[in-house]
Amino acid sequence: MQTKRTVFHSRVLPYFLLAPQLIITLIFFVWPAAQAIWQSFLRQDPFGLKATFVWFANYTRLLDDPDYLNALGATFVFSVGVTVLSMGLSLLFAVCVNRVLRSGRFYTTLLVWPYAVAPAAAGLLWWFMFNPSVGIIPYLLSFLGYEWNHRLHTGDAMVLIIIAAAWKQISYNFLFFVAGLQSVPQSLTEAAAIDGAGPFKRFWTVVFPLLSPTTFFLAVINITYAMFDTFGIVDATTSGGPSQSTNILVYKVYADGFIGLNLGPSAAQSVILMLIVVVLTVVQFRWIERKVQY
């Protein structure tokens, strides 16, 4: 790994410089993670007095648990929903902003700030929009004959958290798509125009293929976001309900561990989540490597 060709010589200084970061990492990251892995192989007796080593029993039980499988399914639907909705809208806005160079900055300012809104606050904003008694959207939907109620209807609840999560993520995707679009060489679109391609054809045959690294990168980031950074949205709106329809993995691990106090199974859930993050991180870094190559 790279350093400067000349370096400072000191035996102790670099360790002092690294110490704060490493100590915090070890105490609050690595040690708890190791604990989670260890506990995922144990089962506590009902009184919490002694723990037995049960190998993978917690995992097998988890994978037989319909509630857990349901959470996996909900997480999948949620992640895909958020990623597709948010990226689709962002790409549309980014392409538009890229066309209107002069007013682009103005639109950008109006589109980027939701990034700063806390997930819990974003959840509450949409929870209010969709509030079955006073919300404006159920009011409008009632004219179409649809009785919106995310407290009772599982589908409504999922749609609610997908919209809230996607809304918050639009700004992030938008900024990266704009950056990606601006790095497409002008000469390429000009060449395509001389070759007789109209704006739409140019976009789909020249620009969009060149955006594919950005698109792929954002897909990974959005899935990671939907799986791990949306705890606040779920907790502030549906709390996993109704009937566990929005009980995504990250919410379930909290609910089972903190509220249900099932140490072993909760630890097993933690470990599975860790593995998912590891996979997503590796995929993301492979992307960076690829980017470096061309």
Partner: protein, 282 residues
């Protein structure tokens, strides 16, 4: 490029205006709601124009709060959030920049393992190791304290990578010239590297401030005393109690108060924010 397609231009602006409206509307509605009294919702439909209870609602929340709902005065919670966000941002930047300095400007036996250890934090978000981390913090007696709110989250692989990336782009000769000029490592760090990193530090500060301000699960777990509550977790408590009372005006006022500071930061420092966001993901 010369291209004049009036219809396409019109469509472009139409899409953008609709997009902006979609993005802004929930906040507009929340603000409108926060200016009304609770009775204005009885009709079963939210008003679309501002009411006259703006100062009453916000004044009540800021000064009194809903102590029964577990929401102390918002002024206190806003103060806590501000303190927490600044401490997290400053802490992350401080420990990351010195780590990156060690990794780039020194060669020592445990350099690569140290780098990988820092890298691992990327793979361990608090949400996945929540119980054991809580236990460590509890064992260390850090529940209900600023140190408990801040220290466990200030390790940062992202910030360390960003500074490492940046340091690698600083010309080699900069450090060599400084050495010939008689500067030791810490003097070089303070006189040359830190000033050169100003923009990066500012950009990262914005990203990390927002991250810190928006902390939710962690403060919720480790604070049980209202004096340490932060505003983002406060609005959730407010919402769960006041929902039953139909006091959405107060809930939405709370949401506006909790969201405003980081949003203002982004709007006023958009250039730095974009730089920070795009560069931390490289």
């Amino acid at each position: 490029m010369v291209e004049n397609r009036p219809f396409l231009n019109f469509l472009t602006h139409l899409v953008l205006i609709l997009g902006v409206l979609t993005v802004v509307f929930p906040v507009y509605l929340a603000f409108i709601a926060s200016t009304h009294g609770p009775t204005d919702f009885m009709s079963g439909i939210v008003p679309l124009l501002p009411g006259d209870q703006f100062s009453a609602n916000y004044g009540y929340l800021l000064g009194t709060g809903e102590s029964t709902a577990g929401a102390p005065p918002f002024l206190l919670m806003l103060g806590n959030s501000l303190a927490m966000a600044i401490m997290i941002a400053v802490g992350k930047i401080a420990i990351s920049i010195i780590s990156a300095f060690a990794i780039v400007y020194f060669r020592f036996p445990l350099r690569v393992p140290a780098f990988w250890l820092i890298f691992m934090t990327l793979m361990l978000p608090v949400e996945v190791r929540i119980l054991p981390t809580y236990k460590v913090v509890a064992d260390l007696g850090m529940l209900n304290s600023y140190s408990g709110l801040v220290i466990p989250v200030i390790a940062s692989a992202t910030a360390t990578f960003l500074f490492r990336q940046f340091f690698l782009t600083v010309p080699e000769e900069m450090m060599e010239a400084a050495r010939v000029d008689g500067a030791g490592p810490m003097k070089f760090f303070r006189d040359i590297l830190l000033p050169l990193s100003r923009t990066n530090i500012a950009a990262l500060f914005i990203i990390m401030f927002i991250y810190g301000w928006n902390q939710y699960l962690w403060p919720m777990l480790i604070t049980t005393e209202p004096q340490y509550y932060t505003v983002v977790m406060g609005i959730k408590r407010l919402a769960s109690v006041l929902d039953g009372d139909n006091q959405w005006n107060l809930v939405m006022a709370g949401v506006i108060l909790a969201g405003l500071p980081p949003v203002l930061v982004i709007i006023f420092m958009q250039r730095l924010f974009v730089k920070g966001l795009v560069e931390t993901e490289k």
